[in-house]
């Protein structure tokens, strides 16, 4: 009988239920869209913020100490290097998902054919990696130096260029030595010499204009440093530091076990640096503080904005549900009074009304969820120019929010229902 009553209420009063379902769908769609965007906004914002470059640098431990003491940035003076074979490990740390790009560097002090000294820097451009997790990653400075202006020629392409002896020449070097795209340079390194085809001229607007950039292995051969690298630049998605992160950055061993776990399992730049140090032998990872802080703050503010919009939309939906359900209960007061008069207890009547509302909420929630996915894509394409990937976690969160908001919105109606006395509604003349 209970099911018959529910079915009767749902199908024979479908217009009223449709209004409630529509309101719930509206709230659910906004919640889905905002949560979807919020959870994906990290990647989106990070893509935008990649123009700021990397936010973590990794250097050999010895080099770091000497740099700190003497402000020297030359590994040759320390003779310590990082191992190229360990680069893949960076994508195996606890916060691997937050590592969005990274690239190694090795410098070879060389001379041009005219005897002019020049720094030849080897790096990844768009290096393709098959990760142990099964994922693939194209990492390198093509994404980390988006501000470089290619004045002649084009970027080096590791996946297209079969010829490894190619180079991109900084604007300053090119101007001083009258180098153009299409030229061939004779480079004399410490251990080898190379004929490099100039594929592009770039203008970085900084000291990198005084260098020639080549594939990593090319520079390693020039310097005789096969398998070694000077440093790594990492672009990671981070959470802004707080007191705990600052304390940990100074000395992780000063933390209690609980503090350590909290810090380790939060994407603070210091904890990501710590985890990188754990996988790269004898390395020191440090934050490029300005960039890391800016990224974290922008991300945090964007997420806060999304949360506020989500909360406001849910409050709006709750108020709408509250009005509609209360109006519905008021309309049905004689029916509810009758049920009580013929022996229904408050719990039975509340159960009936709540079941109707929750079923309506489920229907509205499902419709709203799919509409929300659509809204999220509109936001993604309008704001970020790409699709928003809805995380599976959004589904249970939206489901719980819809049920909670619907139940909260129904409280005034249920209170009214509980206080309703049959005598007040059954003797209307």
């Amino acid at each position: 009988m209970f099911l018959r009553m529910i079915r009767g209420a749902m199908f024979r009063q479908w217009k009223k239920m449709a209004m409630i379902a529509f309101t719930i769908a509206l709230g659910a769609s906004l919640a889905t869209a905002m949560l979807g965007v919020m959870m994906d906004v990290g990647d989106k914002v990070n893509q935008e913020l990649k123009t700021y470059g990397a936010n973590i640098t990794v250097v050999p431990k010895d080099s770091s100490i000497i740099n700190d003491l003497y402000t020297i940035e030359d590994n040759e003076s320390t003779g310590s290097y990082l191992l190229e074979e360990e680069l893949g490990k960076i994508k195996t740390i606890f916060w691997a998902f937050n590592i969005v790009d990274y690239t190694p560097f090795v410098s070879a002090q060389s001379t041009l054919a005219n005897g002019a000294p020049v720094t030849v820097t080897g790096t990844w451009f768009n290096h393709h990696m098959e990760l142990p997790t099964g994922e693939t990653l194209d990492a390198g400075i093509t994404n980390l130096r988006t501000w470089w202006e290619i004045t002649e020629g084009k970027w080096l392409d590791e996946q297209a260029d079969d010829n490894r002896d190619v180079a991109m020449v900084g604007a300053a070097v090119a101007a001083q030595n009258d180098i153009h795209a299409g030229d061939t340079l004779h480079i004399e390194g410490k251990e080898a010499s190379k004929e490099l085809y100039v594929q592009g001229i770039f203008d970085a607007g900084d000291e990198e204009d005084s260098a020639i950039f080549v594939f990593l292995d090319t520079a390693q051969q020039l310097a005789g440093l096969e398998g070694n690298i000077d440093s790594i630049e990492v672009s990671a998605l981070t959470t802004p530091d707080n007191e705990l992160a600052e304390k940990a950055a100074k000395d992780p061993s000063s933390l209690t076990v609980k503090q350590y776990e909290t810090w380790y399992c939060t994407a603070y730049v210091s904890s990501i640096c710590y985890q990188i140090q754990e996988v790269i032998t004898d390395s020191v990872a440090s934050a490029v503080r300005q960039v890391a802080d800016s990224e974290g703050e922008i991300l945090e503010k964007t997420q806060l904005l999304m949360i506020l919009i989500t909360i406001l939309s849910l409050i709006g939906a709750a108020l709408g549900i509250c009005n509609l359900v209360t109006a519905s209960v008021m309309e049905r007061s004689s029916e509810i009074g009758l049920m009580k008069a013929i022996g229904a207890h408050n719990s039975s009547v509340s159960g009936l009304v709540l079941t109707e509302i929750v079923l309506t909420a489920i229907i509205g929630g499902i419709i709203g969820f799919f509409a929300g996915i659509g809204f999220a894509q509109i936001i993604g394409h309008t704001v970020f120019g790409s699709s928003i990937a809805i995380r599976p976690m959004v589904i249970p969160i939206v489901a719980v929010l819809v049920v909670v908001v619907t139940l909260l919105g129904s409280i005034p109606a249920i209170r009214m229902l509980l206080n309703l006395r049959p005598t007040e509604v059954l003797h209307g003349r």
Binding site: R4, R12, Q13, I342, P422, H427
Partner: protein
């Protein structure tokens, strides 16, 4: 068991019952007895306290003063939850405005009363509708039934749980003459079956067919008349 002894057993007894709202005495020290199987009509002008008395007898309200004994239980002292149970088990209610659930069929409206009482039984509900002559309209919604038919569904719903007493509040107030006759005839049959009936009415013709008529005025029992033309038979159990 002698007939006289059974007749003396009151199903309902009001002892000095008052219902007071501020300075207003909606009921003022009313006392009465209704015996099992009796058919009583309550009349009176608007504001005389008829509905207040119906609410109290129907366990939907409590008196401010006095005792209301229904089948030996003083309902004035019962909790709201117990009153709901007493109402469910002992009373069948019929209203002027029918109060059928609009989205349930006639059959489902009857079954709803079974559902809140015990277990719904479609066959039994259908038999109740047959008793009121509505078996062929069982699958219709209230909006598809005439006023008389709706009131008959209401009667079937009131009967379905075999209540001790049926309280009808202006049962013919919204009916035309033909339907009024049908409903009164149903009451007559119920009375013949031994059902106790208390009918509040403005209509002297409806009151006339009852065994006894109580007239309320200003919250007090003004007078009581025994219907000399009463032809019903009290079936004692």
């Amino acid at each position: 068991m002698g007939k006289d002894k059974v007749k003396r057993m009151s199903l309902l007894e009001l002892r000095n019952v008052s219902k007071i709202y501020g300075d207003l005495h909606a009921l003022d020290k009313v006392s009465l007895q209704v015996e099992k199987g009796e058919w009583v009509a309550i009349m009176g002008p608007s504001g005389s306290g008829k509905s207040t008395m119906m609410n109290i007898i129907g366990c939907m309200d409590k008196p401010s003063e006095g005792e209301v004994l229904l089948d030996g239980i003083d309902i004035a002292k019962e909790t709201a939850k117990n009153l709901t149970n007493i109402r469910r088990d002992k009373i069948g209610l019929i209203f002027q405005q029918f109060h059928l659930v609009s989205y349930l069929t006639a059959l489902e409206n009857v079954m709803m009363a079974q559902y809140y009482h015990s277990i719904p039984d479609e066959k039994e509900a259908m038999e109740a509708l047959e008793r009121v002559g509505l078996a062929d309209r069982a699958r219709h919604l209230p909006s598809q039934l005439s006023g008389g038919e709706q009131q008959r569904v209401c009667v079937a719903r009131a009967l379905i749980n075999y209540p001790e007493i049926i309280l009808a509040d202006e049962p013919t107030g919204n009916l035309d003459e033909a339907n009024e006759e049908i409903v009164v005839d149903l009451f007559r049959r119920l009375h013949e079956d031994g059902t106790t009936l208390i009918v509040v009415t403005h209509d002297p013709e409806v009151a006339e067919v009852a065994q006894r008529t109580l007239v309320l005025r200003n919250g007090r029992l003004d007078h009581e008349t025994i219907n000399p033309n009463f032809t019903g038979h009290i079936k004692l159990s």
